[in-house]
């Protein structure tokens, strides 16, 4: 009989040992620890006192709805609500079906709704009905999630539901020509977070496929395609986004017949899509170049066509490699939506600015307002980067 002595890894240090080892292991580190504690104390206490005592949040609390939806007619707000509800339910269903990314998005959405529901605001700036609506949506997301866990909905149905309801929301928000129920709402009245989201989501979802096509085009063996793609990419990348937005809003209408009036939101969106697609193309191309030639040869050897090789073998691997860069680009696109304020689109930052400018009593309260806007941007940017880390992990299975 052999006795095997069990060898265990050393116990992790207890809290007191940890403090001894890391914070006061020499007199110099001890002093540093004390100084840091004092600094942290003053910063934390100072910030809390400022936020809850001396700061005056009235520019935010008195205008909350303006930040959210701009000057969208207050009688028509239900249309935004209905669109949000559709999206919430779809996210819930997609969460049950696809997990992964959709779970992360749904959770972000739930948290955002809950935060919105308890955000301090005056009753006129954010009525009780809307609070209840914000409170009800997370419930809808969860219910749809549970339903789709129980009854599997085919992915094909889900994707068409997304396409249909996204189109429906746009129609709902814009309104129809002579409709009594949903009269048209001037796009100039749209504003705030809704517009920021429209620009970001529209920009991201449309620029992504265009970028992928441009990247493939640049590597194409057909000279016309590759020259055009390269020319497009290099031209756009050589120009600042704000310039493209200005060109879109000033120059493009000159070339269009006067009856074809494209509103400025769409023009800004197109500018962002073009800009983002060029960068997307270069990111994706980086991923494409990282795929070893052997993968293409293996695909050809088993008889896959060029198209199938690209679609099934090369692209999935290339895109996985560039997820961090792509998400980084999405985050910067999200923040770049603020540049649309330069062409008079009332996105979140521009709304904040105009609230400050039009109310003399808010003089000197810029800091609170900008902090609020920054916090909103931070929440969504941060949740995007957390999501990207989750995608990387969930796709990491079978990494070479």
């Amino acid at each position: 009989m052999t006795t095997t002595e069990e060898i265990r890894p050393p116990e992790p240090p207890g809290p007191i040992t940890w403090i001894k080892q890391n914070l006061v292991n020499s007199w110099f580190n001890g002093i540093l620890t004390v100084i840091s504690l004092v600094v942290v104390y003053y910063v934390v206490v100072g910030s809390i006192r400022w936020a809850f005592v001396s700061a005056d949040w009235s520019p935010v609390t008195e205008n909350l709805l303006l930040y959210l939806i701009g000057q969208y007619p207050r009688g028509e707000v239900w249309r935004i609500g209905l669109s949000l509800t559709m999206v919430s339910i779809l996210f819930g269903f997609s969460w049950g079906l696809w997990r992964g990314i959709m779970q992360a998005f749904s959770l972000t959405l739930i948290v955002s709704f809950l935060v919105l529901a308890v955000l301090p605001a005056t009753p006129t700036a954010f009525p009780l009905s809307m609070r209840l609506f914000a409170l009800a949506n997370p419930g809808l997301i969860l219910i749809s999630y549970l339903i789709s866990r129980r009854w599997k909905i085919p992915a094909r149905v889900m994707i068409s539901a997304w396409l249909i309801s996204l189109t429906a929301s746009i129609i709902l928000l814009r309104g129809l020509g002579r409709s009594e129920l949903i009269p048209p709402v001037e796009v100039n009245l749209w504003g705030g977070l809704v517009v920021t989201f429209l620009l970001a989501v529209g920009g991201i979802t449309i620029s992504f496929p265009i970028g992928v096509l441009l990247a493939l085009g640049r590597r194409s063996s057909l000279p016309v395609v590759s020259i055009f793609s390269t020319f497009f990419i290099e031209t756009i990348r050589g120009v600042p986004l704000i310039t493209i937005l200005f060109m879109g809003s000033l120059i493009v209408p000159l070339f269009l017949p006067s009856e074809m009036r494209v509103d400025r939101l769409i023009r800004a969106l197109v500018g962002m899509i073009i800009f983002s697609a060029a960068y997307m193309a270069e990111n994706v191309r980086g991923g494409l170049q990282a795929i070893p030639e052997g993968q293409v040869e293996a695909a050809q050897a088993i008889g896959l066509s060029k198209f199938h090789t690209t679609l099934l073998i090369v692209l999935p691997q290339a895109l996985r490699l560039v997820i961090p860069t792509i998400v980084g680009q999405f985050i910067s696109l999200f923040k770049d939506t603020t540049l649309a304020s330069g062409v008079a689109v009332l996105e979140l930052l521009q709304i904040a600015r105009s609230i400050l400018q039009s109310n003399p009593e808010y003089l000197g309260q810029q800091f609170e307002v900008y902090l609020f806007v920054a916090a909103i941007f931070w929440i969504f940017s941060y949740s995007m980067s957390t999501t990207s880390r989750k995608i990387e992990v969930s796709l990491g299975v079978g990494e070479r």
Partner: protein
């Protein structure tokens, strides 16, 4: 074994030339392979042996000479290339499995997308092939979770999934750890004995002795010597063949 059909060459190469820029990789290779034959090609690195078998499924284009596979001449005609490729399986030195797909998906990819088989049929056949190469339990793993030997056996199964008439092996054991070489060779020997037409680039002389019908010694883009394994091992005619064999057999 000498029915008429078996005497008909399935691969005919005549005077095949290939250049990479100014470098001439193949200087006129001629070879005929009959159905069911196992051909072993060996030679020093840079001798053109890999390049040659890659011209047969047109991963490399030859610039002079003719290659006729299963009655179809390899030209620039894209349809011909596709038709040829679906008749030829290929196994690479570096396995080249698709890392983002499971073992089963790797194998069913071509049958589903090229042969347009229903998924169930493709998976049934894939499972049979995995049984044949001895790793049915790995079906739902990703290539990165398998050992080198297992990956190469999956690669063989993937090539067989298209039910090819010819199998090309480009140094299939050169990237493997020594203890895994045998498991791959065993699969290849079984395949050879089942009557598959095989062109194998390898330095595994034990394999050549066991199953090769003919051997070709390549050097500097030319066939220096060819013959049965017995002729090559026992009575090599050329000095270069002798020298090379003494180098690879004595270490």
């Amino acid at each position: 074994m000498s029915t008429n059909e078996n005497d008909q060459p399935i691969i005919i190469c005549r005077d095949v030339h290939k250049w990479f820029g100014d470098f001439q990789a193949l200087r006129g290779i001629s070879m005929e392979v009959r159905k069911g034959e196992v051909i072993v090609i060996f030679g020093p690195s840079g001798s053109g042996k890999s390049t040659f078998i890659r011209t047969i499924n047109r991963l490399e284009e030859h610039q002079r000479g003719t290659i006729i596979v299963d009655g179809i001449e390899l030209t620039h005609d894209v349809r011909n290339i596709a038709a040829i490729r679906s008749e030829i399986g290929m196994v690479f030195q570096q396995f080249n499995l698709f890392p983002h797909l499971t073992v089963l998906q790797n194998i069913t990819m071509a049958p589903i997308w090229v042969r347009k088989w229903p998924k169930e049929k493709a998976e049934d056949i894939a499972m049979q092939l995995l049984e044949r190469v001895g790793i049915p339990e790995q079906a739902n793993k990703f290539p990165g979770q398998l050992s080198g030997g297992q990956q190469q056996r999956v690669a063989i199964a993937r090539a067989l999934a298209m039910q090819p008439k010819i199998m090309l092996f480009d140094e299939p054991t050169s990237a493997l750890d020594p203890e895994m070489i045998k498991e791959v060779l065993d699969v290849m020997i079984e395949l050879a004995e089942s009557g598959m037409t095989m062109l194998v680039v390898t330095h595994e002389m034990g394999f050549a002795k066991a199953v090769a019908d003919r051997m070709y010694f390549f050097d500097e883009g030319l066939v220096v010597e060819s013959g049965t394994p017995e002729e090559i091992f026992e009575h090599p005619k050329e000095e270069r063949t002798k020298l090379f064999l003494s180098q690879i057999l004595t270490h």
